[in-house]
Amino acid sequence: MWMVIVSGLAIGALFAATALSYNVMYSTSKVLSVTTGHIAMLGGVFGAYAITALGQPWWLGLIAAIVVGGLFGWLTDVIAIRRVLARSDEHLWLLSTLALATMVQQAVGLWWGTEPKPFPRLIPQDFSAGIADQKFWLPIALAGVMALGLEFFYRRTMYGKLFLAMSEDAFAARARGVSTDRIRVASYVIAGALGGLAGFAAGQLTFAYFALGLTLTLNGFIALAVGGLGSNLGALIGGLTLGLLNTFASYLFGGEYQQTIAVGLLMVVLLVRPEGLLGAQQIRPV
């Protein structure tokens, strides 16, 4: 029973981290990027590659994951967001991020292979550690650190406050002399770095697997929608809830209907409270 709870929290932490990435990118661009889940996938794959294939120590793998993640975040902005935001058609960014996500997933599949490959042990620990296994505690710890870190960033640092300003009213921020373009790029790089880190931390749980991207995009989004768009605490709650729901349902009914159950949760929340548990009410634009 404990195993079910702990593994649920662990996978839920990864969902929560993805939801946090969504939030960071959304705050400055009002865009929900389909590539969000792929950032974590890249972190896991490149971390595994650096450590197992290139034989590097674990901390270099960590740096590789963060760098690759940040780079991909930057790439998302350059390729899929920057030019597209200028146009008035709001559907375009959905298409461009979808295209980029597909390309990245397929490219990794062709290069890395389509099977989940094992992720190396980061801290020496016996494999029979059960619920104390680092593959559970690493992602949980990371999600917590991420959430706290983001809160500190937003409330105590100047840069963070600029982010908040942009998310409330980008036009006003620009009028006050804030370089909104640079902030947006920075937010994408940060979201990328955090996502890559999350993928690295959860690598032993998820394995280095190319198809993780789309799965995380969807599940991270469900966590976000349940918790409420724009709320970091909501992202945590939504992610952990979804993770626990997944593992309990798997344990009780078998793993055949995982996606169905996850979406069931989403539908219930959207029908009862469309803005999520802690999301802000949306004012209707005319």
């Binding site: 079910v4 062709l110 989940p116 490959k117 094992p118 029979s128 749980l205 697997y209 198809a211 078998g254």
Partner: protein, 398 residues
């Protein structure tokens, strides 16, 4: 909203589509080669098996062509990568049968693809050498020109059952399949055969081949009192994770199952090398070392031929029976065409139907008018998993 400018794209569309199709068909040159189609999932799941089988196929084709071909005609091998996708496999089978008009089709490797392509190839009347194990692929009435080269799934499973029940003397079986076509069919067959032997499985589960955490399922099997695990899945990654889960749990239960559980790729996937102990799998006498430490002469001969061609510099790091089987398929084609004195499909069918004891490396094959499964029971054996050396294994203790 009639726009003249819209007429242009419409005409261009039709023209382009027509051109594309015309190109796809290719120009039919008058050739005298023997065209053999090879549906192989060189990328995607089961690619390791396909790549190994491809080695054998290529070797045989090169060998035969170097010796002048079959009756003076060279073999033209048309390899098509199906990527494990049934829709692609169907398209490619159609292309081979109707566009390229091949004389023989080998494969596909994947049972899931095979279920889709076998009826189509049968409809085209092209002789088809089946290398998937699922029972539904063979039917003398529906698919008269489909002949199976690999063993049947029943042979694999009954060999394993025999070892688990009679030699290891276990009685509480947990059957583990996967959600692919092969895995689903095998789990069902395993259950049926066990029940026919008077044993009802205590736990059965179908796993997604990409599932990473198997502790839940193993815990349930343990709780049900299982004393032997029998996995019938060809997904090496999944099997590796199964061994890890068993080991991490510290559960000392034997595993008897599909040959993939002893595939060399698994070594890298294991958390600890000890996890491979107490693991047995159905195998073949042709790829088992005798008590004198030697392989059957035909196998050794092929090993020596293949070794220099391997990229890994001489070390055979794949299951050798795949290579041997690939090699044999081409040799069977050679035999059929020689005996039928040509490539007439009806004549080939007759020849293969009356083939008894055709000696290959992988096995000695016999087919008849009512029996399309050519692999003999006598060639089945049980191997010990971590005794892999140069593609073959040691015999399991009895």
């Amino acid at each position: 909203m009639f726009r003249p400018s819209k007429l242009l794209p419409g005409l261009l569309a039709s023209l382009f589509a027509g051109l594309a199709l015309a190109c796809a068909s290719g120009v039919a040159l008058a050739q005298n080669t023997i065209k053999v189609g090879w549906l192989s999932s060189l990328t995607g799941p089961l690619s390791s098996a396909a790549i190994a089988e491809n080695q054998g196929v290529q070797l045989a084709v090169d060998e035969i062509n170097a010796a002048g071909g079959i009756g003076g005609r060279k073999i033209e091998l048309l390899t098509r990568d199906t990527s494990g996708d049934p829709t692609k496999a169907v398209n490619l089978a159609q292309q081979l049968a109707f566009s390229e008009k091949v004389h023989f089709i080998i494969g596909p490797v994947n049972s899931g693809e095979g279920l889709a392509t076998t009826p189509i190839i049968a409809r085209a009347g092209v002789p088809n050498l089946i290398i998937g194990a699922v029972d539904e692929l063979i039917d003398p009435v529906k698919y008269p020109r489909a002949f199976r080269v690999i063993n049947t799934n029943k042979q694999w499973i009954s060999t394993g059952n025999d070892y688990a029940l009679k030699v290891l003397k276990k009685s509480k079986v947990a059957v583990i399949g996967d959600t692919t076509g092969y895995g689903t069919s095998s789990a069902k067959t395993a259950q049926e055969l066990l029940e026919a032997a008077g044993v009802k499985p205590v736990y059965t589960v179908l796993l997604d081949p990409n599932k990473t955490d198997l502790t839940d399922e193993l815990a349930k099997a343990r709780a049900a009192g299982a004393d032997v695990l029998m996995p019938w899945s060809a997904a090496t990654g999944l099997l590796g994770r199964l061994l890890n889960a068993r080991g991490d749990m510290g559960w000392n239960v034997p595993i008897v199952g599909h040959p993939a559980v002893m595939a060399p790729q698994i070594r890298k996937l294991l958390n600890k090398p000890e996890y491979w102990e107490q693991t047995y799998a159905s195998g073949y006498a042709s790829t088992t070392y005798g008590s004198d430490g030697k392989l059957p002469p035909a196998t050794q001969q092929l090993v020596d031929k293949v070794r220099p061609k391997l990229a890994s510099g001489g070390e055979i790091d794949i299951l050798f029976w795949w290579v041997a089987m690939g090699y044999d398929t081409v040799k069977i084609i050679e035999h059929a065409i020689k005996s039928a004195n040509g490539t007439d499909p009806a004549a080939i069918q007759k020849v293969l139907e009356s083939t008894g004891e055709f000696r290959g490396v992988y096995a000695t094959y016999s087919w008849s008018a009512t029996q399309r499964n050519g692999f003999p029971d006598s060639n089945m054996a049980v191997n010990v998993a971590n005794t892999f050396k140069d593609g073959s294994f040691k015999l399991a203790p009895r």
